[in-house]
Chain length 289, copies 2
């Protein structure tokens, strides 16, 4: 039972995390699976400028799964939820005929009428992204290439322990800075196209300006392809009216201007003097083994 | 986004419905699957005396599932939800590696502090149940016996289209009549034992007084076993202080007194002069093929 604050809108997100689709037991520690489950919902709440308040969990477990797996999964989940002020408040457990299935519900709150939507961008707004892109997808490709080698989770934290940008979302909402916002869960191209479609604008952005993740021991930069289309980074992608001045960092997180909204519908990627129309490519495309 | 009424507590339920565990496509129409999915959550809200307000759906679908299946499933779900005042307000869709997976979240509201809990029964309270028991489990047994024959969904409505007792729950809560309540989703013995454990009491009840469902063409009564242990009837099971007078029907639904709470812990089933201690037997026990 929750007692919502008066004069607040309630935000509810729900996301499946399925073994074999979103994680593999050979690749991901139980703590990482729990962390990544709840990161998805927290990131959705962050993208509306909301404050997470409670987490609910539906869990279906195959017979014979060690109890220790479940304990460590819950630990990873509650640790990240608590960091952002949300408690695990209920749920349901049942037996699964195939693999581990989890559905995570994150409930959040935002002052009535103040949620940042995807539909508020207007022509001429500047487009920003937090942090770096492509890091999570790069880890998935590494694991697909070498399925029997365990990745060092610390070298690929953006995949195993992504950090949803709850504080950045709050900051932008409280000061009324962002006209539209989404989280980069499906990849920059797909998520930017959602903002464009719902706002009725297009977007022009610059390949050189996209902040690419650096990973592994050598801290090498991921490819432009991954930064454009790789998902599950849980960064925030937002638009800002021209008159608004933004700091270089918000709550300690670097933000980068990558382009602006235009009246011509579609995504237009500039590389040097060249401009090409970009087809949004879902993250699913990459994830297929 | 929901705008909760002030001075209300928020109730959130979440329940998995998995193909092969909770339904089979050969046995259940898509409308029935959708209906039964949401009935589980509505019934949980009813058992707290709450009013359902919104439904969220996480759906994972196998490749190649016809779009018409999903449409009919959503139809069954929204029809029952709307009947009880709740709208389908959001969700998530992903691909499933094995079968259809649905998680249904029902959000409800109850005036602050007024939810009926499982823990309020005291020694000497009368125990009541709405409607009839065992009807849903009887249909499952029929289907298991004759897996290639389709049951007539109208003759076994209690299984295919159960009717969560939302209005009865509201009535009991508004008039402050019930000291403890639960819905009979796991079967009478299991659910009554939950009330007993959380209230710190035992229960003595009478085999002859348990209202057994009548089904099939011949309207024959189900066995005592099924009425005691069969789940998924979504009736309400509640306790009432001795001084309270109850009508024979509430909102058109028959209610039946089946026993009373006692100080000795455990469930005690009386048959004529004989009293035996009853071990709660989960519904899972029956459902195994």
């Amino acid at each position: 039972m929750l007692r919502p604050s008066p004069h607040h809108d309630l935000l509810v997100t729900t996301d499946f995390t399925l073994e074999g689709v979103h994680f593999r037991r050979e690749w991901h520690s139980p703590e990482s699976v729990g962390h990544r489950c709840v990161a998805r919902g927290l990131s959705d709440i962050a993208a509306m400028g909301g404050l997470p308040t409670a987490v609910f969990l539906s869990l279906a477990l195959p017979a014979g799964l060690p109890q220790s797996w479940v304990k460590r999964f819950i630990l990873g989940l509650t640790r990240l939820a608590r960091k952002h002020g949300a408690a695990l408040s209920g749920g349901d457990t049942t037996q699964s005929p195939h693999g581990i299935l989890a559905d995570i519900i994150v409930v959040g709150a935002v002052p009535a009428g103040e949620a940042i939507l995807r539909s508020g961008a207007r022509v001429g707004h500047r487009i920003f992204v937090t942090g770096e892109l492509g890091g999570s997808a790069a880890a998935v490709l590494e694991m697909q290439k070498r399925p029997n080698t365990k990745l060092n989770q610390n070298q690929y934290r953006r995949h195993f322990y992504p950090d949803p940008r709850v504080e950045v979302g709050q900051f932008l909402r409280k000061r009324g800075l962002a006209s539209a916002m989404i989280d980069s869960s499906d990849g920059l191209s797909t998520d930017l196209s959602h903002i464009c479609e719902e706002s009725g604008v297009g977007a022009e952005f610059h390949a050189e300006q996209i902040p690419r993740a650096r990973l592994g021991k050598s801290r090498r930069e991921v490819s432009l392809e991954l930064a454009l289309h790789g998902g599950e980074d849980y960064e925030l992608l937002f638009t800002v009216p021209k008159s608004v001045h933004l700091p270089e960092k918000i709550q300690g997180v670097t933000i980068t201007e990558i382009g602006r909204t235009v009246s011509r519908r579609g995504l237009f990627l500039r590389t040097g003097e060249k401009t090409e129309k970009l087809r949004p490519r879902g993250w699913e495309y990459f994830r297929k083994p």
